[in-house]
Every structure is written in C-alpha cells, then in structure tokens.
Amino acid sequence: MTTSAPSLRTDAAQALRPHAEQTYAAEIEALAKADDRQRPPGWKLSPWAVTRYLLGTTLEDGTEITPKYIGARRVVEVAVATLATDRALLLLGVPGTAKTWLSEHLAAAVSGDSTLLVQGTAGTSEEAVRYGWNYARLLAEGPSEAAMVPSPVMTAMARGSIGRIEELTRMPSDVQDGLITVLSEKSLPVAELGIEVQAQRGFNIIATANDRDRGVNDLSSALRRRFNTVVLPVPDSAEDEVRIVTQRVEQLGRSLELPEVPTSLTEIKRVVTVFRELRSGMTEDNGTKVKSPSGTLSTAEAISVITSGIALAAHFGDGQLRPADVAAGIQGAVVQDRVSDGVVWREYLETVARGRDGWGEFYRACREVGA
C-alpha cells in the first residue's frame, strides 16, 4: 500500500491499548483447540466457544478463560445466536454499559479481527460505510479497483468477517440507510466500475447505539428491522458491578504499566456504592432518597475514577489507594453541570456519606476537594 509511510507502522506489543484479539490471543487459541463443535462458515470459533470466551470458563486442559462480560448470560447468548443466524446485531444501552466492549470481543472471537470499525459521528459520510476514492489515482488512471478505497464495511464483506459500527444513531440518516442494501442483499455494488462486492460467509455487522442521548438520528424502520436488538442492562447487583470494576481496573493498570498499587476493595466498593445510589436515587438500604445528577454515572466511569485514583496514589500518594485519591475523580464524574449537580453532590455528601460508618475519611476528602 502506498498510503502508509513506514514511520506510522506500529508495534502491537507497544500499543497503548492492544486490540482484544491481541490481548487474548492465547485464550482464543486455547479455545479453538478445545472446540470440537460445528463452526458456522467463516467463524474462527463455534458459537458455543464464543459464549465461553465471553462468559469465562476453565477448559479441560486447565486454561483459564477470563470472563469478558459480567452480567446476564442470556444477553451474550442472544447476541451470539443472532450473529449465527446472519442477522445484524444492535447493542443498545445507556453509555457505559459495555456495548463497545462486548462488540469488540464478539468480533475478536467470531472472526479474529475487531479492527473493521466505523465510528458514527454527525460528520460520518457515505464513504465510511461504502467506499471512497484515492483522487490522485482516480485522476491519473481513471476509475479502477486500485483507485478505490474500500470502507471497513466493504473490507469485512470481502473478508467474511465482522464489521463494527459504533454509535450508529449518531450518523446522519442517509448514511445509515446505506447499510440497508448491505444487510439485506449482502452485496455492495460499485456502480463506477460495474462490479459488486458480495459478502463472503462469516460477514456480519455489530452496531452499537445509546438510547440516552437526545438529538440522535433514530433508525428508520427498514433498517431497524434488519437488526436483532439486545438491550444491555446496567449491572443488577452491586456485587456484579464491583467485580466488573475490579477486573477492568486490574487490566488497565497492567496495560498502562502503572506501578503496582494494591487495589483496595473498600474504595472500589465505595465508588460503586456512590454511583449506584446516585443513579437509582435511593440508598442501598432503601432508606433515604437522594437526588440523581444529570450524568449517567456508568460502570465505565466508575472504572476510570478508580484507575485515575490508582495513578494518583502511585505517583503522588503513598502507594495505597486512599479515599483522597478517588475524591477528585468521583466529584468530576458526578458534577457534570456545575450548578445543579454540585447541589446534588453536596447534598449526598452531607446526608448520606457523612453519617456512614467508616466513610469519615472519604467525606472529609471530598469536602476538601469541593472547597
């Protein structure tokens, strides 16, 4: 390819955030070895093995498969079954419910490649889901396959792997509708060249969309009905959420090579509790009503609060995750709107956090940050 200069080639091992299929290459390989079930055409693993990959298990040869998605088993099963029926999959949910995370891992497990990604934005153009042109070549040589720049979707079709579309509802409607032919006919005509790209077996689309944002472009019903929709729930129990946060924080810490900080379960529990209580508008013992702030306070935000707390503790603190290290982060996550959320947060601190056993230090730390 002429487009990429050598200086831009990067080493996966040094990547800030390796792709799922890179991070978990060993697990996928072990699963593929143990997997004796029938694989749908074009799949690297059988549906059964894909669910095992996502939900975690221990293989017979002792390989530990870490759980990637913690939550309802049926969500994963419906998602995998959908892909196996060659229907497109739409993952719906409020921000931070692991939509992208699940989609990446599904693509990695099914086709071994999670990189065929289109990010939906208000400026996403049709070229991003169909194909574009290398204009220099187009002018020099006229329309030819060499002058065409295929989109990730087209590449996925040609390779028979999974294409991913992030934030589908943020794309303009006309770009969204470009997907209809791809999903129903499973082919993408290139009128300029008089050819078409027919999707190879194993091709499918995983799209994510969040149902919280206002001002998004709702899917047309023609497109909608080509998707099976799976709504990803907010974690049911505090227990689950603490597990998710703990696991992700450990992984992130490893890949960012933060100095080893003993992850304090107390702090994680505290952050998760604060988030859950503010989100539901009710304390965990159902005793007190609290106001909910304007932000979503997703699990993903809880993870980032803890990670930045760890970084603080490692570089500036005493190497222990202390309430003071998470205080700033948690306030930043809760207080999105300075005026109204500020009131909510102060009220929460005074009415709930203040009186709780063992929360004294946390309360003081937050007060300090707020002052």
Partner: protein
Amino acid sequence: MGRSRLDTSGLHVLGVRHHGPGSARAVRAALEEIKPDAVLIEGPPEADALTSLVGELEPPVALLAYADTPKGDAAKDGDGARTDAGWGFWPFAGFSPEWEALRYAVGNDVPVRFCDLPAAHTLAERIAEAEERRKAEEEHARAEQEEDRPGTEPGDGTGAAGEPDGQSADGGTGEPERVRLDPLGVLAEAAGYDDAERWWDDVIEQRGAGEPSPFPAIADAMAAVRAESAPESGRDARREAYMRQTLRAVLREGHERVAVVCGAWHAPALRDVADHPVREDTALLRGLPKVKVTATWVPWTHGRLASASGYGAGVAAPGWYHHLFTAPDLPVHRWLTDAARMLREEGQPVSSSHVIEGVRLAESLAVLRGRPLAGLDEVSEALTAVLCEGAPAKAALVHHRMAVGERMGSVPPSTPMVPLQRDLIAAQKRLRLKPEPFDRDIDLDLRKDNQRERGVLLHRLRLLGVGWGVPRTPEGGRKGTFRESWRLRWDPDMDVALIEASRWGTTVASAAEARAADLAEGADLPALTSLTERCLFADLGGALPRVLSLLTDRAATDSDVTHLMEALPPLARSARYGDVRGTDGAHLRTVAEQILRRVCVGLAPAVHGLDDDAAAEFVRLIDATHTAATLLGGEGARAWTAALVALTGRDTLPGRIAGRVNRMLSDAGLLEAEELRRRLGLAMSPGAEPAGAAAWLEGFLQGSGLILVHDEHLLGLIDAWLLALPEERFTAVLPLLRRTFGAFEGPERREIGASALRLGSGPAADGGGSPAAVAVDTERAAPALATALAILTDGRSLG
C-alpha cells in the same frame, strides 16, 4: 408375608410430572397401547363418583374436597381452623397427564379410580395442624412475644408433600415442596443441566408424538434416586401405602391390565408393589384422623395454575404448556405468529419477516444452549430481540399474557353444588354478570332496577366474604349517590368461600341476612353503624331492624362519646341516601338523631384536658359530626349548634378546638363579627400562652384562610399579636404558624399577604370594606345569593 406373591405382570406405572404436556401426550400413547381394563390416578378417592362428569367438564377445572360443617354449629370460634384449612384443590389443566388419563378412561368406559390418600385424612390432618398453630399463636400473643411469628409457615416436616412437583393436596395452607433432596434436581445435574424444570422439559415435556414410551426409564431413574435418599416417612409414606393398598385391591379384583398415573417420584414405590409387605402398609394407615368430606368439581383458571400467583402446585407458564399440548406441530412458529398478531392488535407494526427471524433466532439459541427444541426462554428472548426490537416492557407484557394464557374452565350444571352456588349462578344468569378470571370494571346506575340489583348482589356477596366485586373510585371523579363503581374478578377460591358461606342459608339473600345478623352480635358501635350501611347497600331489610335495635342498645351503654361521633356519619348518610335505594329512612333517622343527642350531651365533658394531638383528632370528629348533623337537619341539628355554642363558653377548652368551633359558628352565621373579634382578641391577648394562641389560630383557620382577607379587623388583631411577641416567643410559635398558613393554596396565601401589606400602609380609611371593593348591584345579586344560601343551609333556614 406368607401369602402368594402378587402378580404384577399386567401393571403399568406411568410416572408423570403433574401438568406436563409431554407427559400427557406420552400417557395418552401409553394408554392406547396398553389398553388397560382399570386406570388408577393420583387423587382423592372421594372423587371417584365424580369421574362420570369428566366428559362435560371444560378444563382447567379442579377437584375441590372440603370438610363438611356439622349442622347447627355455625361459625363459632372453634370452627375457625376448619374453615381456614378444611379444603383442598386438585387442579387439572387440559394438558395435565391425569386429565388425559381421565378422558381416556371415561371415553373408553374403563373403570377409573383415584388412589391417593383420602382427603378425609389429609384435611383432618391439616385442620389439626391449623388448630395447633392457632393455639400456639394465641399463646404467643398472650405471652406478648414477637408479633412477626411466621403465621404462614406450615407445620414442620411431618406433613411435607415432596413429590416431584407436589400437585396434590395443596390447599390454602400450601405445604412446602421438596423438603428433602430434590429428585429431579439430582437427575438434571447428572445430565449437565442447572435447572431441573428445563431438563425435564427437554427430556419429557417437549417430546413429539410417536416417540417410545419414556415411563420405564423414568421409573428406573426415580428408583435410582430414591435408593440414594432416605426412605419415605410421614405423610408421603402414608400416601404411598394407601396407593399400594388401592392397587392391591384392584389387582385382586382380577383386572389384568392396570395403568397407574402418578407423580414420577412415586412410580418405583408402586411398580414394586409386590416387594412391600402388606402388613407394614396396613400398620401405617391405622388410626388416621378423619373428617367427613364432600368433593366436587369447580372451574379453575390458568392464572391460578401459574406458579407466579404464589400457588404451590404451579407450573411456570400454563399458556405455553397449553400451546405445546394443543399445537399440532411447529410450536415455536405458531407461538411467535400468535405473539405477532397480539402485537399488531396493540398497534405495533410487526411483519412476517419479524416472525421468520424470530423463529431463526429462537432455534439457533436452542442449538447454542444444546436444547433439542426451543423452549419458553428462547421464544421469550426472540420476542424481545426481534419482534419487539429490544423494547423489554412491550415484550414482557405480551409474553406474560401469552405465558399465562388466561382461561377459565367450566363445569356442567349437574355438578354437585351447594344450594348457595346454584342460587348465585341463577342470579348471575338473570343479571347477565359473567364470572371472568380477569379484572373488569363496571359502573352501575342505581336508578335502573337491573343495575341496582347487580350492586345489591355484589354487596351481599361481600357480606358473605366473597370478594368478587370490589368497590373502586371511578375515573374522572364521576360520583353521585345513585352511582356505584366496581371492579370484578372471579377467583376459583370464591367457590370455597361460597361453600363456607352456605351454612348461613340457601340463597344469597337469606345467607347474607343471617350473616349480617350474626356479625351484629358482639360488634362494637362503629362496626354496627358501618354494618347498618352495608345492610342498606345490600338491601337486607330483614336484618336491618335487628341491627338497628342492637345499635340503639349499644349507643345507650357506650360511654365513649368519640365512638358515638364515629358512628354518626355513616348513619346520617344512610338516613339521607337510603331513599335513593327505595328503603325506608324514617327508622334510621330516629336512631341517628338519638345518637346525635347523646353526642351533644357528652360533648362538653369529653373535650376537657385534651393535649394538642388528641385535640386535632377531636376536631376531625367534630367536623364529621357537624356534616352529619347538617345532613340530618331539623331538631337534632339545632341541638348540635346549641351544644357548640355552649362549648365556646368554656375556659378550659383546648385552643385548637375553641378556634375551630368559633370558626364553625361564624361560618354558620351564629356568631356576630364583633363577638368573633372579641374572642380572637382574647385568645391572642398578651397574657395568653403563645403556643395556645397559635393552636387557637390553627383551629380557626383550618381549611381556609379567606376569612382573614375579608375581615381586616381579624387580620389586624393577629398582626398586632404577632408584632407584640418577644423574639424568643416568636421563634417558638413560628413552626405552628408555618403549618397553619402552609396548608393554604398559593393564591390564598398571596391574598392574605396583600391584605397584610395594606394593613401596614395604614388603616384603610374608607370604611374598611372588602379588599377589592367593587360596587355590588344588590338587586342583580339577590337571586344568586338566595340560591347560594339555599345550598349552604340545605334548603332550610337555620335559626
């Protein structure tokens, strides 16, 4: 043993799961192959005589066995346990294997018998348990123990029914299932399932037609599980002993091919009947307690069959099972097609391609989960992900409706019934009120005879403890004395309530009358008055004189004036509105007036020395009585106002009551403005305790503060009082004032505020008239004024 060994070569034991469609199908196939000359079914033998009705029944139905109430012992206290526990249901759905067996036997003229432990013993045991529990509770109560003793916890292990899914003998008290090791759980675990129900569903219930009989394998599997666990004891041992005894008798009668349909758990115990010594079984069954029992068929509903309704014998989704059993083929396709139709009826655009994709998803999910056929879980997920496009609420609604698949069975008129049931059925027919298993709202216009009769019937049934109709507040606030709104929902339990109520009489009317008269004995005064009201609603003219005479007696002896005051409002309402229903209100009015007079006499002593909370409660009673007195009118109302006037003259009157009574008198025009100002001034004078003054004010302004807007002198007095308060006193009464004024509507508060401002700007020089002094054309206002006056004084002019 000594005797010759029982010949069991012709014995076929069909171990089933109760309410399992696959089991039902397999039973049918097995019976057709075996061609038995006798069929035994797990169920109470009291129902043997009822099997002839099977052809006319429409499932779901249930066998109801109830303990007879001895005549002449109507509803005395000792009978409580009997009515609470003295009945049991054995439900059958169209897809129950027992039902299939019954239908087969009746259709082919094969003798059929129920072989379980007779309900006579089961119920006797249960009544004894309930009695014991009640006694224990009473003792607990006496000992002032913790109040939250688990009243619903059934008697410990002794009576535990532990069959695979414990169908039989689960009446009101609902015995715990699976107390011991869960046999299906063990088998399912061995097969690699985490859910026993699902395993059984996969292996047995979702079998198609034409597969080989599963019963020998089931019996073997159960035998293996039973070998691992302790031998049966207690009730289950007795049940199996009885089943074996019946089986032996049937075999000895010379039947050659006998089929037994029973819970899978019991299958090995019956199959190996020859290995069990007769002696032991006889010993087990000796000397069991017994009651006299009657059995009958009653209609049942899918809703009650669903375990979600908290009913012990439940299955998760009767609608799904019904569908599995009735759908000739392609159950998943048909189910999702039905769901699509239902969604379309709700106005959702669901296309055939949705259904196609739904079926594909359900099937690939089943493959992914390693199940032979898509089950309820898979179709439910396909419904959510495809047909409802991810909207869980919509899917849950449709899914729930279909999974329960509400339907109600019916029984033919020839079914044994108590006369009360027959009377009700006749009334239902006459009034065109059909018992239905879901909520239905009706509005009745009591001016129409037919509709009034419906209301009367529902009221009577309520008196009898049959809550078929429950009064509700109509939407849109349409109220009126000639209107009644009800919510109807028939529940199979109500048949039991009817049978219980049958000791009161043979018709709904006579039973309700007897019940009302019985309730009246020993009731206290407020209960009696509300009973009077209910008698009126239910048109029980026969019971009314007795209730009223008891009421007069009770009123004469009851020394607590608050009781009398509580009793008055319903009576006054009845006296006033009785005529809408065409009843004679004269007698009622006399009783009500008597009570009112007693209240007038007792009023003054009763208000002495009440604290503020008690005073607030008393104010409520005074208000209610005042309304009642106005409704009654006449001599009684005059006596009441006189009593109120007398009351205000007392010094010791609590502030709140004094304020309220003064306000009432002033509103009724019995108190001159000048006098009112004087009294307010007195209450607000500097010598009075500020807290007392604030209470006075609160009572005075309760409900509306507009009087302050209209009378600036009053406002001025309050203003002066407030300004004169020293700071700490002011702080002390501020919360009370806040409470008083906070109760007013916003505009009202604003107007008071505006008036107060005007006060500050100096005394209004020009006459001190109303705030928005508009010239009034008295001539034009006169008719309106007269009408308003007539409304206010209820058509009479008050002295």
